[in-house]
Point group: C2
Chain length 500, copies 2
């Protein structure tokens, strides 16, 4: 006799397996698949998504959940089983609203869109991506309709990445944040421009690769349970706690790009690697939300990776790896160079003071597309107009503008705001870390990161997606998502660097 709970867990394990297979097919599509494989791959992704959706939304699952949810409410609320049942019940309620064939259609559409997006980038021409993006927008609008009534058409999309968060809440947080970031930017703009010319010379790719690998190895990235490859747009994916993969890309003339990208994706992957093995083969074996995930990547990339303490250890090594490129550049100059504030075209390359403005731009465009107040055919122009308004610069071409991110081609609308929220959470976490480990920055100076990683594993990673993101943030930091720690962090850092 298999108990209801066992039966339920078996079903969830099989679903997790299917989703892992889907993730692998997606990874391969972006990393190694030859172009000729796109059509069949689209079918594979659609079939896997369709079968998973069908199994998840089955009557059998509904009945099991109906019986298990009351039991779960009697269990220890922090037990794996209670968390799994209640989280699944929440997802079930959401997913049963969407027909299986729509899920499959969306998977097919995104596969074709990703191919079109890559071609459009190569030819620097948004028009080549336009029809596929139009199709994506329509399918997302249709998706939102299944969740009526809603306060805002964008709410159901946002909820997929940040469960429970509303569009108006994000707008409120961003509303508090924006004037402070703009004021800081103005102060910085009044100061002399920092010289970072040494970052814009040729750095051989292999040297960049090796240095990035050295850094994340010291962070604690486990190579027996992960790997790094190259792709057009860097990303992290996981096929289980024992196999978390990152990708990077190289720009011979921007050495900082690949390095910080590797630290960023490494931060995501270490989160996945740090999840308790007791959650394996469950949907809880992932991050609590996109924003919490991003808080980990941004912590390693920026708060650690762009700190002076970090470079006190690593800069001599970097100079050794690139002696001609960094000849005569002092640690202080290098540190100021990698923290130079300057409006730029590419989100992933943006400094910490301008980054969130890139996000606000995307959020507004996504909302306008979904509301129908902006047409896809006008998107490239709208993008450029907003870039002028927000950052004072206009991209010279679509690849440096509207085509720069993979997200829309992958159908990930509602995802972008989580990047900025992740920045905010990273600073909240960092204030707590500094209290708990007063020597943490001195540790960086000798290349020691295990106490920080241990703290993150203990307080965040091990739980996977057991807790709702707001619950976890409050549990760790004592408050909800709050922009003030991030502003304190930025102000302190740039006051020192720019002598504000």
């Amino acid at each position: 006799m298999v108990s209801k709970l066992e039966k339920f867990k078996q079903l969830m394990a099989e679903l997790t397996d299917l989703n892992r297979a889907n993730a692998l097919a997606g990874w391969d599509q972006q990393v190694y698949m030859p172009r000729g494989g796109a059509e069949d791959r689209g079918h594979v992704l659609a079939a896997l998504a369709g079968i998973a959706h069908e199994k998840f939304t089955s009557e059998e699952m509904g009945k099991l959940l109906d019986e298990l949810v009351p039991e779960a409410k009697q269990m220890d609320p922090e037990s794996d089983d209670a968390c799994l049942i209640l989280r699944t019940a929440h997802d079930y309620a959401k997913q049963t609203k969407v027909p299986t064939e729509k899920v499959a259609e969306f998977a097919r559409a995104t596969t074709m869109a990703e191919v079109a997006w890559e071609k459009a980038r190569e030819e620097n021409n948004f028009k080549l991506f336009q029809d596929e993006l139009q199709h994506i927008v329509e399918l997302r609008q249709e998706y939102a309709e299944y969740f009526k009534p809603y306060d805002h058409i964008y709410d159901p999309l946002l909820d997929d990445f940040e469960p429970g968060l509303k569009t108006k809440e994000v707008q409120a947080i961003f509303g508090k944040l924006r004037p402070q970031q703009v004021e800081l930017l103005k102060k910085i703009a009044a100061k002399p421009v920092i010289d970072d010319s040494f970052l814009h010379v040729a750095y051989p790719e292999q040297g960049q690769w090796d240095f990035g690998v050295d850094v994340i190895t010291r962070f604690g990235f486990d190579w027996n349970r992960g790997r790094q490859d190259k792709s057009v747009h860097p990303f992290t994916t996981s096929f289980g706690i024992g196999d978390a993969r990152i990708t990077t890309r190289f720009d011979a003339e921007r050495a900082a790009s690949a390095l910080f990208s590797t630290m960023h994706e490494g931060g995501h992957a270490m989160y996945e690697q740090g999840i308790s093995r007791t959650l394996a083969r469950t949907p809880l074996a992932t991050g609590a939300s996109m924003a919490v995930h991003e808080s980990q990547s941004r912590l390693w990339e920026n708060i650690v990776g762009r700190s002076l303490s970090f470079w006190k250890f690593f800069y001599p090594r970097l100079q050794k790896a690139f002696p001609s490129q960094l000849a005569g550049v002092t640690l202080e100059q290098y540190y100021r160079g990698i923290n130079k504030v300057e409006p730029s075209f590419i989100r992933t390359e943006a400094d910490e003071a301008t980054y969130n403005l890139h996000i606000m731009l995307r959020l507004e465009l996504e909302i306008a597309l979904l509301e129908g107040s902006l047409q896809v055919k006008d998107l490239s122009e709208a993008w450029n107009t907003r870039m002028k308004d927000y950052l004072g610069i206009i991209p010279p071409n679509d690849t440096l503008g509207v085509l720069q991110d993979v997200h829309w081609s992958s159908g990930l609308m509602g995802y972008f705001p989580t990047y900025a929220l992740g920045n905010l959470i990273s600073a909240q976490v960092w204030e707590k870390v500094q209290k708990d480990i007063p020597t943490v920055e001195q540790q960086f100076e000798v290349g020691k990161f295990d106490e920080l990683l241990g703290w993150l594993r203990k307080n965040i990673h091990q739980y996977g997606a057991k807790f709702e993101p707001q619950v976890l943030v409050k549990r760790v930091t004592g408050t909800g998502i709050d922009p003030e720690p991030y502003m304190r962090y930025l102000t302190k850092k740039y006051t020192e660097i720019y002598h504000l």
Copy 2:
């Protein structure tokens, strides 16, 4: 209203998608997966195989086939639909005999066995693989039981790779072949040993890779619909007609190894790439059988790739790529060197005159294991004893002996004989090609292979698995599988090389 035929084809398309996902998970496991991913990957492979088996053996499928088979018998027997229905009905009858949970258990067992096999190879110790292999043998014995009554316990396994062929038929073919091969070997052994020392010096890996890529590109391998990676054991896999992948491995001191392996796997992949697009997303989008598949790889690797005509074109290029290694080596010397006959340990490195003896050894061991007359714990010793009997040499360690092939760890028992049968078919096909394209060998001399590839596509590749292997062989060559053309080919070639 969707017709029964359409419904059936939709189901088969989805099943094909699932099998493609499974193939991808298997490819990644052997090519890029970190070791820590093995446990979860085993579950993924098991889940995909289990779901596919369950869907394929469903009552719905059974009913559809019951209704469609009589209709198919009224259709043009060469139509895609008729072939798909009848082939599927044959497979359905087979697969419905095996319970779904047994299929999943077998997938899990092979995943664990592959990890153990790799570890055993690294440590040169068969014992580390023994328990997992024992489990595989037991599961294969159990599998055969589902097909009782059989003439021989090995029949159901053989049939999975070579539909319709019986153990006694293979034994009869091998029985005719063996004395002729042995006699030829004896004649060769009486002649002076060929000097191939120039093949056993260091050839840089990148140069080997580039040369192999150049060769298969000229053969007609389509890089927009395929790729090459590295793995422990070279193999070919396909995720659709638009994505056929090969792997290779390098031995710095055996330049010939990677090159001929690339031609071999390239031959397999070009077969997959040549299948008619009308068969996409059906189980007919693959080779007719393992032996027919092998006939294509061996044709390109040996009949083309080890011919004097081929090297008249490629040898000057090879000399240019490896000037120091091949300084003073004439075309004639090189040609004789790569065709040197010499008993050796590794099947995939064996020359054409000894290769089939490696197969006969494996076939006998597999049969003995399944019959129970040989225990897994005694396998290493039995291997070495037979190597002494057949080839007069004893492997100095297990990695050069019983651990050399991936097949048993992957559960592929019944597969080995198809390699030797493939050799026989390749020579049958080649006799026909020479009749139809009298200038074919002169074409090789100028690096022209498109007429040969076109002939193979037209007569073999395009049909995929539409025809049963014996039907296809007869259609192409006019007879069933026949060892005589292969013996004529070997005798002519070695009479010239060894002046017999």
